[in-house]
Structure formats: structure tokens, C-alpha cells
Symmetry: C2
Subunit: 203 residues, 2 copies
DNA sequence: CCAGTATTGGAGTACATGCTCTAATACTGC
DNA sequence: GCAGTATTAGAGCATGTACTCCAATACTGG
């Protein structure tokens, strides 16, 4: 079945990710990825088809890694507030465990890496289906924490569990400090916001 | 003293900013900026010297606008908790008043727009001095709110006054909704976090 | 050992991009 | 009106970029 592969896909994806993280999407040129990964451009195109498809794969791999851990952390926690806080905590823990991937999620935008129009169909559907399990998790958390599908509850939950940890980690990664240093005080803030929203929601 | 200027600098900077916000730093090519602003490339180079310098100017202008307003809002408020909340509020108000600039701050990184090495010295020192007044403001808030330079107090303050408003505005700008809609509930959360930290800090 | 084949490897190509150059232009002070 | 000059304007150039092409390579099944 032909000549065996000499370079693992992850080698290429790691190189591309590191370049994007270090200097923005435009710095990950085919030549730069080739040099950093020691994989010739010809091989890059044989594997991925185009620069866009390669960068899309970088993005997909990272999002998948994050979400697998997120769903696992949420599943392991007790229902209600506990689960919500555990969800928030995962963003911090991911940043500590996988700093490079975390940087990609926090510092690059999808639009910087890929124009959806110019992608192979398989990748496009992959992208679209990624957010679904997480959306379902949020639905579940809303009903667990607020008892019903409350609109303003959902807003508070998103802020507390998604946006606030995101902002926190982003600031630390940009500043070069360790986000887990203030883990306790961040999670306290998360809990406070949710409890306050609970009080407002059930008057 | 020579031919009068036909195009205002801000016209060019606006065009470049909008391109960056819409599609990432790499989309703001000299040709694209020229077309969108209706200013010929020759004029761009006559004014700004290089593409890098132009993008740096875009960044500087936006950061300056944000920080001038921030410092003014903080100065106008009463000391202590009030001032801290007013500081947080400014991030929201800026997003409402200057959505395009706000998008730039939230969605672009400095590294995406410029490599510090390749900049005129004046711009480089400008960049470096930008954050200083804001850092001093944070110091001042820490002592006002917590009485002394408390480490955990500083953590809570940064989370409440920087991270939380950032997260809130980001969510709304990405989703296309108006961040000021939940202004009251966001500021309540800011106050809650700070009060809780005060209780923990002075036991 | 011999097809058959998937992969390697890098020189070569067409094109986009940042930037330069110079003539034309339209104002000011004298 | 006449220098003097800052700005306009866009054609042209050198370089960097994504991508192609094809011979060479190294494995597998028969």
C-alpha cells in the first residue's frame, strides 16, 4: 500500500498552530510551516490540499480537544451550580494543561484562519457540528440552575461560565502570567453571578 | 505651504480599521485600504510611510480613545467602590458609543497588526507609554477599595473591573446585540464581586 | 523479485503584495 | 503673477506567496 508516511499530521498541525499563536494567521505561510515542521511543501499539499484546509484542520483539532474535556468535566460534576462552576473551571484547567492550544482558541479568530466558503465540504460540516454538544450542555445548565428556560438566566449563565473565564484566561496568556493563580477568586465570582441571577429569576 | 490635503487621516484609518475588524489583519492590504478609503496608495505612503506604520496608527488611535475616556470616567466618580464601578461601566459605554473601535480592541491583537521591531521610534515609545496611566489607575483603585495593596484584592478587582466587562461586551459585539441592554445587571455583578472581596480581605 | 502505489521532495510558475518613482496639481507667502 | 512646496496620483518594480508538477522513493501483496 505505498510508501509509509514519514511525518505525522500532528507535526504539521503543531507547527502551523505555533506560528499562528506567535504572530497571527498571516505568519503561517506554507513556506514557514514547511520549514518549522521540516515537511516539504509538496507533502503539505499532498496531505491537506490547501493552506486554508490545513489551517481549518488546526482550528478543528484544537476546538475538538477543548470540547471533549469540557463535556467530560461537566459530566463528572454534580447537577446545578456545581456543574456550572465545574464548566467554568475547565477553561482555566485547559489553559494550564494545553497552553498552546489554549492560546489558539483565545487569541486567534476563526475568520483569521479560514474563509468558510473555500473549504472542503467535510470540513465545513465538521465546523458546523462542533458547537452543538456545547449548546446542549448550556441548555441543560440553564434548566438545572434556574429551573426553567429563562432568557435572562441564560444570559447570566453564558457570561459567568463562558465569557468570564475566557476573558480571565486571555488576559493572563497575553500578560504571560499563570491564570490558575487566581482560580479560587475567579470561581467565586462565577458563583456569585449565578446566585445573584437565581435570586432575580425566582422572585 | 503646499497643496492642501484632500483626504483626512481618519478616513484612511477608519478604512483600515474596518477591514481588520471584518476579516483579520491580513485582509487590510495596501490595495484594499486604498480602494475602500478612495485614497491612492501613493498618498498612503506619503502619509504613513509603510503599511506597518499605518496599522500601528490604527491601533494607537483606538487604544488612546478608549483610555482617554476611561481615565475621564474614573476621575469623575467618587472614590472607592463607586469609582471602580464607573471604571467597569466605561467599557460598556465605549462599546455603545464607538462600536467599530471597540470591535478592534476586542477582536484584534497587537501582534496581528504590527511587529514592534519594524516601527518608527516615536510610535514605539507611544505604544510603550500607553498602558502606564491605566496601570496607575488600577493601583489607585486597589488601595481605595481595599485600604492597602492587597494581592487577592487586586485579583478580584481586575476580574470585576477588567475581565467581566470585557467578556460582556465581547459577547454582545460578536452576537450583534446591544451591550447596554444588560448594563444594570452587569454593574450589579461587578459590585457584588468587589463587596465579597472586601469582606474576605478585612477579616 | 516484481508490479503497484502512496508518499516524498523541491524546483518552477502565476499571481498578489508592499513599496517606489516621478510628473502633475493646487495651495501660500512675497 | 511667481517661486516654493506639500500633496496627489497611479503606473511600475521587486519580492513573497500559494500552489503545481513530476521524478524519485520505499513500502506491500502476489
Amino acid at each position: 500500500m505505498g510508501r509509509p508516511r514519514l511525518h505525522a499530521d500532528d507535526t504539521v498541525l503543531d507547527a502551523a498552530r505555533d506560528l499562528v499563536v506567535a504572530g497571527g494567521g498571516s505568519r503561517a505561510t506554507t513556506a514557514a510551516v514547511s520549514e518549522r515542521s521540516a515537511v516539504p511543501v509538496g507533502s503539505l499539499y499532498h496531505r491537506f490540499g490547501s493552506r486554508e484546509a490545513l489551517l481549518a484542520e488546526v482550528w478543528l483539532r484544537t476546538v475538538r480537544r477543548f470540547q471533549v474535556g469540557l463535556l467530560r468535566a461537566a459530566a463528572a460534576a454534580a447537577p446545578g451550580l456545581r456543574r456550572a462552576v465545574a464548566t467554568a473551571a475547565w477553561t482555566l484547567d485547559f489553559a494550564t494543561a494545553q497552553p498552546a492550544d489554549s492560546r489558539l482558541l483565545l487569541l486567534a479568530r476563526r475568520e483569521d484562519l479560514l474563509r468558510e466558503a473555500a473549504l472542503p465540504p467535510a470540513v465545513r460540516t465538521g465546523l458546523r457540528e462542533l458547537n452543538e454538544p456545547v449548546a446542549r450542555l448550556l441548555d441543560r445548565l440553564v434548566t438545572e440552575v434556574f429551573g426553567r428556560d429563562d432568557g435572562s438566566g441564560r444570559a447570566a449563565l453564558t457570561i459567568a461560565v463562558v465569557d468570564l473565564p475566557y476573558a480571565h484566561v486571555r488576559r493572563h496568556l497575553l500578560g504571560g502570567t499563570d491564570p490558575s493563580g487566581q482560580r479560587a477568586s475567579l470561581l467565586r465570582a462565577v458563583r456569585l453571578i449565578l446566585e445573584e441571577a437565581q435570586r432575580n429569576a425566582i422572585p
